[in-house]
């Protein structure tokens, strides 16, 4: 027995004409399969429509506000990362461009000889400074503890500055959602 178009009529929600309704009814009187299908769909429909609208746990809007603040903090951090990366990328690009331009405009042998000459000059300057310090300490031995004290002081100050800089960076990029209760 053919179940078409009756199966389509049963499951489509189109309004049937009187003649179609009669044909469907007479088919349902004879066909157990279509009757079972019709009953099953009716039961499913009843179960769905009887099922109530569900409610979330109390405080949904409050949790949403907390969720929003976490989302904003994360977005802020992402922006900071992108900004930092962008700055580094821009600096890197500028440096590379300058280096490339420099390479194109000068010869390798000239650059190497210049580097060696500059390095020798720098080494000679350091040697001169060391000689001055040595002659000063020979002439005035009392200067040794004072110079040692100042050297340690300057090194300590520089170390403190570096530590502060790193801790500020860590604080800046650390997830800032501590203490926020999401749910």
């Amino acid at each position: 027995m053919s179940h078409q178009p009756f199966e389509t009529w049963l499951l489509s929600e189109e309004q049937l004409e009187t003649e179609q309704q009669k044909m469907l009814q007479s088919h349902l009187d004879e066909c157990d399969n279509c009757t079972a299908l019709s009953d099953a769909w009716q039961q499913v429909h009843n179960a769905i429509t009887a099922s109530p609208e569900l409610t979330p746990a109390p405080g949904f809007a409050r949790r949403w506000h907390a969720h929003l603040s976490v989302y904003r903090q994360e977005r802020q951090q992402r922006k900071m990362w992108f900004l930092t990366l962008g700055l580094f990328a821009a600096a890197g690009a500028i440096f590379l461009t300058l280096a490339l331009l420099n390479l194109l405009s000068t010869s390798w042998t000239y650059e190497i000889s210049q580097f060696i000459a500059n390095f020798s000059l720098f080494a000679a300057r350091i040697n001169q400074c060391w000689n001055v310090i040595e002659s000063l300490t020979d002439a005035f031995p009392v200067l040794i503890p004072i110079m040692a004290f100042f050297s340690v002081g300057i090194l300590s100050a520089l170390s403190a500055l570096v530590v502060t800089w790193f801790s500020s960076l860590i604080k800046l990029y650390r997830p800032a959602n501590e203490g926020v209760v999401v749910r």
Partner: protein
């Protein structure tokens, strides 16, 4: 859309979170309900509903005031749930495949009624689980939210004829699943009373 709602949206567009909070409060039930029917458990539904409201807040500038705000919100939630279900299917086996144990709350005023309600919910969940994510969304919008085929098409970015054919296929699948579960129940009820073979 009411004037009050339009005002809240306008203020939210100018950065006022509190007024968007009123909208969250107003639409939390339909959005949560849709997410629950799509995902099948309360925890996932809560996460999806929260995320849907965050997305709505984020894309509020793109909202067209000529459209219904409720439809726009439901559209965001439905798309989010469809994506989530697709990802879940790719990564893990759904826990919905495992039939949930139904335990009546003995402290409830009417434990028998509570049990029947839970049983009905589990059955609906089982039936819906056999549908594809988009088909599930069309059924939910049609029967729980009483949306017309045109509204469903608008919410899910489908054509009206696609919605019609999806709804037809879903009704067929739901009716067949119902008949299969009825047959299984009848067989399991009969077996204990069957006479031995010898």
């Amino acid at each position: 859309m009411s004037e009050q709602e339009a005002l809240w949206i306008d203020r939210a567009l100018h950065g006022d979170d509190t007024t968007f909070g009123y909208l969250v409060d107003k639409y939390q039930k339909p959005i949560f309900s849709l997410c629950y029917r799509m995902l099948g458990n309360r925890n996932d539904a809560e996460d999806a509903a929260q995320e849907s409201f965050i997305r709505a807040y984020r894309y509020l500038k793109k909202y067209d005031p000529n459209r219904s705000f409720a439809t726009w919100l439901l559209s965001i939630a439905a798309h989010y749930c469809i994506d989530r279900m697709r990802k879940r299917r790719l990564s893990t086996v759904s826990t919905d495949a495992i039939p949930a144990e139904i335990i009546a709350d003995r402290n409830a005023p009417n434990p028998e009624r509570e049990y029947r309600e839970q049983e009905k919910e589990a059955l609906i969940k089982h039936l819906m689980n056999n549908l594809k994510p988009i088909d599930r969304a069309t059924v939910i919008l049609r029967y729980w939210h009483e949306y017309s085929e045109v509204e469903i098409a608008e919410a899910l970015n489908l054509t009206v004829s696609a919605v019609k054919s999806r709804l037809y296929r879903s009704r067929q699948a739901l009716a067949n699943s119902w008949m299969a579960s009825e047959t299984a129940t009848t067989l399991s009820e009969r077996r204990p009373h069957e006479s031995p073979a010898f």
